[in-house]
């Protein structure tokens, strides 16, 4: 077997002029919920937080159903020297991450943001507070960073309220959901969210994880964290199948869907499969006018972290071409453990313009910033 070790394709560029980067997945955390989020949370919900905490459709009060591979799922070198969780200190993030990699655009994706909480009113209040917090602690202080509108997506009406509250606010560039919803994302209960995003030209990012309550595989709960992690790719495929086959992109052709941190190499085979299934079941799907892969090509973007690492980089070149270089967005997942270094990922060979699009311009075009 020929083995291509993962070398540093960006080394030459990095040595001369540093590549400009858009990082489409950065995870900020509050130093303390009480100090940083409570100021934007009504007293009633502060009390609720203190009494019940954040109750999700998962077994544990604190921490995930599957213990992570590292504490806080973080890079061990990402703890701020002045204390606090990784991703909680702007000054440290600036030097440790933004400056170091020449990140000119960083998209903030807060994870413990109230999304998927069992109580929809609390979810809405908490999401709103987290959105206010993003402005106060991050985007107003660092122009390279842009926020995500966290929405209480299990309640579409409350989600639309939150989206409309932020329309036109330059602190935010996308609406934000998690992949594991309680019903498949194409379901009509979520449609008002898509309507609001399409009407206001706000891309919709959907990030790995979530707390819909269904087993994380169609065959039940697996044993291991690695299965949970890899399983985000299957959940993302399920959600795209649902969105496309429910006709969401037919109804809102301008809707931009971004799959974040769930991989991308599965996308071509999903498109081929959906095309088959669509041809076999045309009678059931009169609202889906075109082959599903065409909607995917037109309406779906993918962030690339955690980057695929086949033995041969040429295989990934096929994958990139099948998906379309213009639909792939670089992301690091800072400060999490499965971080991608822009200079070390096994990016398929491409000309300078294509590389620049991948690392920066695709994101600029998508977000219009």
């Amino acid at each position: 077997m020929t083995v291509e070790t993962i070398q540093n394709p960006g080394a030459a560029i990095a040595a001369g002029q540093k590549l400009a980067i858009a990082d489409c997945d950065i995870h900020p955390s509050p130093k303390s919920v009480e100090k940083e989020v409570f100021p934007y949370l009504e007293k009633r919900w502060q009390d609720h937080y203190n009494t019940y905490g954040l109750l999700l459709r998962q077994p544990y009060q604190n921490g995930p159903a599957y213990p992570k591979g590292q504490p806080d799922a973080a890079r061990r070198d990402a703890y701020p020297p002045n204390g606090g969780r990784p991703g909680s200190d702007l000054a440290f993030m600036q030097t440790h991450h933004l400056d170091r990699y020449n990140i000119q655009l960083g998209i903030l994706n807060p994870l413990r943001s109230g999304q998927g909480l069992q109580n929809p009113d609390f979810a809405a209040a908490y999401c709103k507070a987290v959105n206010d917090w993003q402005i106060a602690e991050w985007t107003s202080k660092e122009p390279r960073l842009k926020g995500s509108i966290c929405i209480p997506y299990e309640d579409a009406a409350l989600s639309v309220q939150e989206i409309e509250r932020r329309v036109g606010d330059p602190n935010f560039v996308q609406a934000f959901m998690l992949i594991r919803t309680s019903e498949p994302m194409g379901n009509r209960r979520y449609w008002p969210i898509y309507e609001a995003c399409a009407k206001n030209n706000i891309p919709l990012a959907v990030h790995a994880f979530g707390f819909g309550g269904s087993p994380v595989t169609g065959g039940g709960w697996p044993s291991f964290y690695i299965e949970d992690m890899v399983g985000h790719a299957q959940s993302a495929q399920n959600l795209i199948s649902s969105i496309v086959l429910e006709g969401v992109f037919e109804r809102w052709p301008s809707l931009k869907l971004i799959i974040v941190e769930a991989g991308f190499a599965w996308a071509p085979s999903l498109g081929w499969r959906l095309d088959r299934v669509w041809r076999q079941n045309r009678h059931e799907l009169p609202h889906v006018k075109r082959p599903p892969s065409e909607y995917m090509r037109q309406n779906v973007w993918y962030t690339t972290q955690p980057f695929e690492e086949p033995d041969r980089r040429s295989h990934l070149k096929d994958t990139f071409e099948w998906i379309g270089w213009d639909r792939l967005l670089f992301a690091t997942d800072y400060p999490h453990w499965d971080f991608d270094d822009p200079q070390r990922i096994p990016l398929p060979r491409a000309d300078a313009e294509t590389r620049n699009a991948f690392f920066l311009q695709n994101a600029r075009d998508l977000y219009g910033v």
């Binding site: 083995v3 070790t5 993962i6 540093n8 591979g69 590292q70 890079r75 061990r76 070198d77 453990w337 499965d338 971080f339 991608d340 270094d341 200079q343 070390r344 990922i345």
Partner: protein, 130 residues
Amino acid sequence: MAKHVVGAAKDVPPGERLRVDVAGTPVVIYNLGGEYFGLLDRCPHMGGLLSEGIQIGLVEAPKPGCYSYDRAGEIVRCPWHGWEFDIRTGKSRFDPKRWKTRPVEVETAEVKDAQTIDVAQDGLNIVVTL
């Protein structure tokens, strides 16, 4: 190849590690029960600093569900993606033939004529050959 005195042995007791820059090359030196081992301080995967990773034992399984755990502290896990490397050899646990970080020769010696203030004038020093 040259020998470089990088510190006093007594400053790196068993279980501790030392990160040094040897003529521009990042090296991490581990003391495993009195024996010193050096590795290039760079994960061959994406370049994480091994010196920032935790030291763990070696978990093996003769069969599913049976965990053996020994060699405490002799495996370093990369602070980024968690790849495990054997500190004694630099070889990765998951694919030792293909993925490894470079081992660096380390010895301890009395170095009488060293000028550096960091170096023990009356005891063992850590000497790296690179």
